[in-house]
C-alpha cells in the first residue's frame, strides 16, 4: 500500500524536541527543519493531538519571542499539516486566546521589550478568525488551494457562494492589516528575520484566498449573469487586488523572504470578472 516506514514510538520523543527548538528564545525564524518535523508528524500519525499537547506544555508565555514563534509554528502546521490538524485546532482556540495575556492587550499593558506585543495580539486575532472560517467552511484546506469543486458548489447555491466569498474577503482584510502591522514594526539595524518569517505564511495564504475568490466570483458571474447583485463584491475585490499588489511588491524587496518562496506577481489592474469579456485573463496560476 506504499506507506512510509515510520518508527512511531521514536517520533513521539522527537516531536517534543522539535517543538522546543522551533519555539526557542533566539530572535530568528522558527527553524524550518523543526517546523517541518511537526508538520510531517501530523501526516504520519494522522493526528495533531501530540503537537497541541507538546506546544501547550512549553513555557512560551514567559517570553514574547517564544510566543510569537509558537504562533508562526501553529500557523504553519495548520496550513501544511494533515487536514485533521485544522479540526483538532478548534478545541485549542481558548488556549490561543490565553496567549494574549502578557501582551499589550492583556494584564501587563506593555508592548514587550522588543515590541512583539501588538504582533502577538494581531496574530492571535487572525488565527482565531481563520479557525472560525474553517469551522464554517470545512471544505477548504489550510492554504486555500484551488479546487474546482468548490467553485462548482457555489454556482449551485449562489447565496452560500456569496457568503463564502465575503467571509474569505474578511480574512483577506485581516491578513492585510496584520502584514501592515508587521512592516510597521520592522527595526532598523536588525535583520528582522523573526518578523519576516511570519510574512511567509501570510503571502501563501493571501494568494490562495485571492485565487479562490477570483475563480468563484468569475463562476458566479457566469451562472447568475447578474452584475448588479454582485457589484458590492466586485468593488471589494478590486480594492483588495490593489492592496495585494502593494503587499507583494513590498515583500519582493525582502531578500530573506524571496529566497524562500516565490512572491506572486499580480497584474497591475484587477482581472475582469465578467464572462462576456472574451479577453478575460486566465485564472491566476
Amino acid at each position: 500500500n506504499a506507506t512510509r516506514n515510520v518508527d512511531l514510538t521514536k517520533s513521539e520523543t522527537e516531536l517534543t524536541t522539535n517543538i522546543r527548538k522551533a519555539t526557542s528564545i533566539e530572535e530568528s525564524a522558527p527553524k524550518r527543519k523543526h517546523v517541518r518535523q511537526c508538520i510531517v508528524y501530523t501526516w504520519d500519525h494522522k493526528s495533531s493531538a501530540s503537537f497541541w499537547n507538546g506546544i501547550k506544555v512549553q513555557p512560551i508565555q514567559a517570553d514574547e519571542i517564544q510566543t510569537f514563534k509558537a504562533l508562526i509554528t501553529v500557523h504553519k502546521v495548520l496550513q501544511e499539516g494533515h487536514p485533521i490538524a485544522l479540526k483538532e485546532a478548534q478545541a485549542n482556540v481558548s488556549w490561543l486566546e490565553s496567549l494574549m495575556r502578557g501582551t499589550s492587550g492583556g494584564v501587563m499593558g506593555s508592548d514587550g521589550a522588543r515590541g512583539y506585543g501588538p504582533l502577538i495580539q494581531e496574530y492571535i486575532f487572525y488565527l482565531v478568525s481563520k479557525l472560525q472560517f474553517h469551522r464554517n467552511h470545512p471544505e477548504f484546506n489550510g492554504t486555500f488551494e484551488y479546487e474546482e469543486y468548490i467553485s462548482l458548489k457555489s454556482i449551485n447555491d449562489p447565496n452560500e457562494g456569496y457568503e463564502t466569498i465575503s467571509d474569505l474577503m474578511n480574512l483577506q482584510d485581516q491578513i492585510d492589516s496584520f502584514q501592515k502591522l508587521i512592516f510597521s514594526h520592522f527595526r532598523s539595524g536588525t535583520n528582522n528575520e523573526c518578523r519576516i518569517s511570519a510574512l511567509v505564511p501570510l503571502v501563501q495564504e493571501s494568494y490562495g484566498i485571492y485565487k479562490f475568490i477570483t475563480s468563484m466570483l468569475r463562476a458566479m458571474h457566469t451562472t447568475l449573469g447578474d452584475d448588479e447583485a454582485l457589484s458590492p463584491l466586485r468593488g471589494r475585490y478590486d480594492a483588495q487586488h490593489y492592496r495585494l499588489v502593494r503587499f507583494y511588491y513590498e515583500c519582493s524587496n525582502l531578500r530573506y523572504l524571496t529566497s524562500l518562496i516565490t512572491v506572486p506577481k499580480l497584474p497591475q489592474d484587477p482581472p475582469n470578472l465578467l464572462s462576456e469579456d472574451e479577453n478575460a485573463p486566465a485564472l491566476p496560476a
Partner: protein, 159 residues
C-alpha cells in the same frame, strides 16, 4: 574520506546490495548521481516488493536527513524524479501518498560554512517535483515520452 567511511558503514550496518546502491547514489560526494546509478535504481523498483521498499525506505531516510547532509536530500529528489519517470508504477503511488514529504521540502534552508545558501536547489527541485506529482496528466505524459524531462535529471555536476 566520506567514501571510505560509507563503504565501511555499508558492511558494518549490514546494508543489502539494494540499499548500498541507493546510499551510494545519494551520498555526500560532490558529484553524482550518475545516469547509470539512477537507471539501475529505477530498474530495481520493478523487482520484488522487498526490493521496492528497500529503495523507497532509503530514499525516504535521505529525504528527511539533516541540513548538513543537504546533498543527501537533493540527490534523493533527483533519484525520485528519475524513478517517477522510469521506475515502476508503485513509485508514483508512493509519491502521491507521501507527497507531504516532498511538499514540505519547498522551504528547505541550510547555510554552509561560508554562509552560502545551499538550500536553493533543494527548494526548486521540491517545487518542481511537487507540481509534477500533483499533475497526473503531465506525469502520465512524461512517463510515456522520455526525452522531455531527461535534461532535468541527468547527472549533477559541480555541486
Amino acid at each position: 574520506m566520506s567514501g571510505v567511511l560509507r563503504s565501511v558503514k555499508n558492511v558494518t550496518k549490514g546494508y543489502s546490495s539494494v540499499q548500498v546502491k541507493v546510499r551510494n547514489a545519494t551520498s555526500n560526494n560532490a558529484w553524482g548521481p550518475t545516469g547509470t546509478e539512477m537507471a539501475d535504481i529505477a530498474r530495481i523498483t520493478y523487482n520484488s516488493s522487498t526490493d521496492f521498499y528497500e529503495v523507497m525506505d532509503m530514499l525516504d531516510k535521505r529525504l528527511n536527513d539533516k541540513g548538513k547532509n543537504w546533498r543527501h536530500v537533493l540527490k534523493s529528489l533527483k533519484v525520485l524524479d528519475y524513478c517517477l519517470h522510469e521506475g515502476s508504477e508503485l513509485v508514483v503511488t508512493w509519491a502521491r501518498k507521501n507527497i507531504y514529504i516532498i511538499k514540505t521540502l519547498r522551504e528547505f534552508i541550510y547555510l554552509d560554512e561560508e554562509s552560502r545558501d545551499v538550500g536553493a536547489s533543494i527548494r526548486s527541485s521540491a517545487k518542481e517535483l511537487t507540481s509534477l506529482i500533483m499533475d497526473e496528466e503531465r506525469l502520465r505524459a512524461e512517463r510515456q515520452n522520455r526525452g522531455s524531462w531527461k535534461s532535468r535529471v541527468t547527472g549533477l555536476e559541480d555541486m
